[in-house]
Amino acid sequence: MAELLETLLSWFHVVREPVGGVLLVVGGLLAIVGAVGLLRFPDIYTRLHATSVTDTGAATLMIVGMILLSPTGWVALKLVFIWVFMFLANPTASHAIANAAYTAGMEPKIGPSGDTGEADR
């Protein structure tokens, strides 16, 4: 059992840097996807869906990547706290926005979303 742990540990040290880097890059790409979603979706609800899901996802990936790259244990622990706080706060914020949009009476756009269509129909 001990040497299994040992090999795991040594394997972990080898693979730590690249995996962290990859995670950071993927998180960045996910955030870009969210931004593109924000621009292209027609109304607030779909936009909100695009940004909130990708933000939480991208941030989680980045934080895990940073935990792998973190030099000392303390930094990793602090990153975990940040992740917990963000995991609680981010979805609540998007819920609040959706709630406010709904109470203000904004209608989700139903029907084909081709930008030519609705204007004249």
Binding site: F85, L88, T103
Partner: protein, 360 residues
């Protein structure tokens, strides 16, 4: 040899963030909707906070994010809620005068930068004289790693006392102008308002905020503990009295946004906010007097505590009492900033909105 920063990465981050700031600033200049302007000002502060991190100014980034992006956006939203929604169109001829003044000032500024030291030059006048002295002397004299907190609290402690006085004066001023939110106590129940679709929407007493309230009950204690962490950890890493006070105030603001201003006034009454602000200034100036009484100059933290080791000569610094002095005045700053910002928020929130509904 050129002093251009060879590390192209820092260069790129630097330029993109400043370009981003340009776009935000130009957008603010052209927009008329006040809501968008307020949001963009918050974005402007946040991007400049990011830029401060890119230029190794972590304490400044922390403060700019907490105070610049956080509190001022809340205050501007509060003021905008109480006033108007859109700005009026500006006639074009009005743009020429200001444009001329700005171009002239810009020209003088550009003229001045011709022989300014290069960006990032280590042995420029600014970085080699007093700034370097602080770096050399902090480890021996004040013995804390965060040199910015050492300079803020001990070397230039009087500046920060002036700073606390400014925050206290601002809290005082807004209370003088807008009262303490008494009106919100009287107008306890705001009438239900019809929304765009004509559906009667119950105002704050309804429970359609249940998700927010549950999460807030979990988050607000964490925010307050984080504020205390930022305060006490200010010597070892970025942090300190201002940021801690702001975070504490934002926790109370979050509570009053979700549970209504009357509930917040019960939980954290206005008289507490005002007296905490005054107590902060008293604590800070009091530490100065305590040092005066013990024979040192005003705000000389070497005299806050009797020297810890017996053979204490005049030349070696009493680092332990420097620590205690810095923690005490940071506590004073925390109280002053938290008290003032909370009383400012109560003043705005308590001002029952006078706006007519069609403005909304």
């Amino acid at each position: 040899m050129s002093v251009v920063n060879p590390d192209i990465g820092v260069l790129l981050v630097n330029v993109t963030l400043l370009a981003l700031l340009f776009f935000v600033a130009i957008a603010i200049a052209r927009l008329r909707s006040l809501f968008a302007i307020v949001m963009l000002t918050g974005a402007y502060s946040l991007i400049s906070a990011m830029w401060f991190v890119a230029v190794d100014a972590v304490d400044v980034a922390f403060t700019e994010a907490a105070v610049g992006a956080g509190v001022s956006t809340v205050l501007m939203l509060g003021a905008m809620l109480l006033t108007a929604r859109t700005a009026r169109v500006e006639p074009n001829w009005k743009r020429l005068g200001p444009l001329a003044v700005c171009l002239v000032t810009g020209a003088v500024l550009i003229y001045a930068t011709i022989d300014l030291p290069a960006f990032g030059d280590a042995d420029s006048a600014a970085n080699s004289h007093v700034g370097a002295m602080y770096l050399q002397r902090t480890a021996a004299e004040i013995d804390i790693p965060n040199v910015v907190t050492a300079v803020l609290a001990s070397y230039r402690g009087f500046d920060t006392l002036g700073e606390t006085a400014v925050v206290f004066a601002a809290g005082l001023a807004v209370s003088l102008l807008l009262g303490f939110g008494e009106r919100s106590l009287s107008a306890s129940h705001k009438p239900a308002r019809a929304n765009l679709k004509g559906v009667l929407v119950p105002s704050n007493k309804s429970d359609h905020h249940v998700v927010l309230r549950v999460v807030a009950k979990v988050l607000i204690p964490i925010v307050m503990i984080y504020a205390l962490y930022v305060h006490f950890h200010g010597e070892l890493s970025a942090g300190g009295g201002f940021q801690a006070g702001t975070i504490f105030a934002v926790a109370i603001v979050l509570y009053s946004l979700l549970f209504g201003i009357t509930a917040a006034l019960d939980a954290f009454p206005v008289i507490w906010a005002r007296s905490i602000a005054a107590f902060g200034v008293l604590l800070y100036a009091g530490v100065g007097f305590w040092a005066l009484m013990n024979g040192g100059n005003y705000l000389d933290y070497d005299f806050v505590l009797p020297p810890d080791d017996p053979d204490y000569g005049p030349e070696d610094a009493n680092t332990w009492s420097q620590h205690v002095g810095i923690i005490l005045i940071e506590l004073g700053v925390l109280f002053a900033v938290a008290g003032s910002l909370i009383s400012i928020f109560y003043a705005f929130a308590g001002r029952a909105p006078e706006i007519r509904d069609e403005d909304w």
